[in-house]
Amino acid sequence: MMKPLDMAAVVGVLAIAGWVAGNALMSSAGLSKAELATARSLSLADLPPLPKSVGNAVADDPRAVALGEAYFNDTGFSANGMVACATCHLADRQFQDDLPLAHGIGITARRAMPLRGVAYESWLFWDGRKDSLWSQALGPIESVVEHGFTRTEIAQKIAQDYRAPYTDIFGPLPDGLADLPAASPLGDADAQAAWQGVPAETQQKINRIFANFGKSVAAYERTLMPLENRFDRYTQAVLAGKTPTGDAQLTQKELQGFILFSGKAGCINCHNGPRLTDEFFHNNGVFSSAKPVTDHGRADAIAQVETDPFNCLGPFSDAPVGACKELRFMSRDAHTFDRAFKTPSLRGVADRAPYMHAGQIKTLGQVIAHYNAAPPAPSGHSEVKPLHLTRQEKAALLAFLKTL
């Protein structure tokens, strides 16, 4: 006669064995119909057409694309003549720089984000303080630690080096640009003081050229589409009823990782859709190097985007009345967004260390360990719960992430 405790032990062991066996069976038989539907939802097969850029009338103009690409690579749009967009967004490195914090004129507070597929995003920067790609492109130019340039100098440089292509797209440049001092409402103290001395009418003309600069850069960035990965090739083959061949074949370990990603580990809660991001802001409990915490993420960005003269509802936006829904229906509940940062796309993630908004975590294995442990947030409340992944499961998850 077995004692109740022994009985409980036997039942428990059997249950665990059953769970493990069930998982193994499922994997060896390939994906279930529901799992295949999930796989499709994460693959390029489900990628919708690029959303219209409502605030940027030249977003799909090939002339703006060419001009924007030239701007993107021109180090002349910086205080020391050495910083271009391409300095931190390197084309052969997924348009990021492999550094924890980006290096421009100085060192920034956050990590440079990769750009492929960026035109699908409604909110730009890690905290979403910009509501369009064209408006985002304006930010780093005037940041004292990035390009350190000024609004008047941008207009002057365009007049000097890009007059013909600019005029072709946007019409003639105003006269008298060369006489203006280096001036910007967001630059250093000297630049700000100089901006105060520029007549309001001239300020608006400069702002217009500045906005057009951003719209051209955005037109180029819209061409940087997501690239096909191994998981896309696997899913495409299976959906077509074919047996995946070559690098489209996924190992049992990689497939188990996919099942964990979309199940037990819950990664898919935020990393969903063909870009593997929900385009939203979450507090994941990642540690802060600064103590006390100085970076509150989305919580501080809501007021910034609302008052930004270059937002979708502002005078430099081309959006028609009734558009700008993202901004109009934005959640303004700042306290719920303390230390919430944008979910990054996971395409190409394994080749893009370090991780998190300030590059705090060095390896992808350590990222998985972070989510598995789910430490409390240094500020606000972490949405992450401990995952209780085994060593083998963590390895499988890592293997899957490498297929992206």
Partner: protein, 142 residues
Amino acid sequence: MKKLWIGVGIVVVAAIGFMAFKMLQPAPEGLNLATTRNSDANQFVVSIAPENPAFRRSDLHAWIATVKTTEGLPVENAQISVDGGMPMHGHGLPTNPAVTDYLGQGRYKIDGVRFNMGGWWEFKLAITADGISDVVTFNLTF
């Protein structure tokens, strides 16, 4: 004594396994997924439907709420505020949806809706009309 600890260990493991299993579930069993419901105090009968049946949950989109009295008469001039979220994740809606149009016959257009995650969502409407206020909560799963 050792056996007791083994037993406790197994129970703990089983509990963790059960929790993991629960997390995999899209919603609790028996969840009322009706899209026509009485408000909590039976003041209104409310139906909801996406404006475009082929909507993508992750895109900003609109829903139509139809508000009627229990006698089936359309409720006009209602003030409706929208709230909701994911009970299993402990967070609200990612956007701030609002009524943007009255379409007649008790139908109200709620724009600015997005469901950024798969799973169980609550969609709550607080309705006030003719001095009567009531709340209705719908369960949606994606």
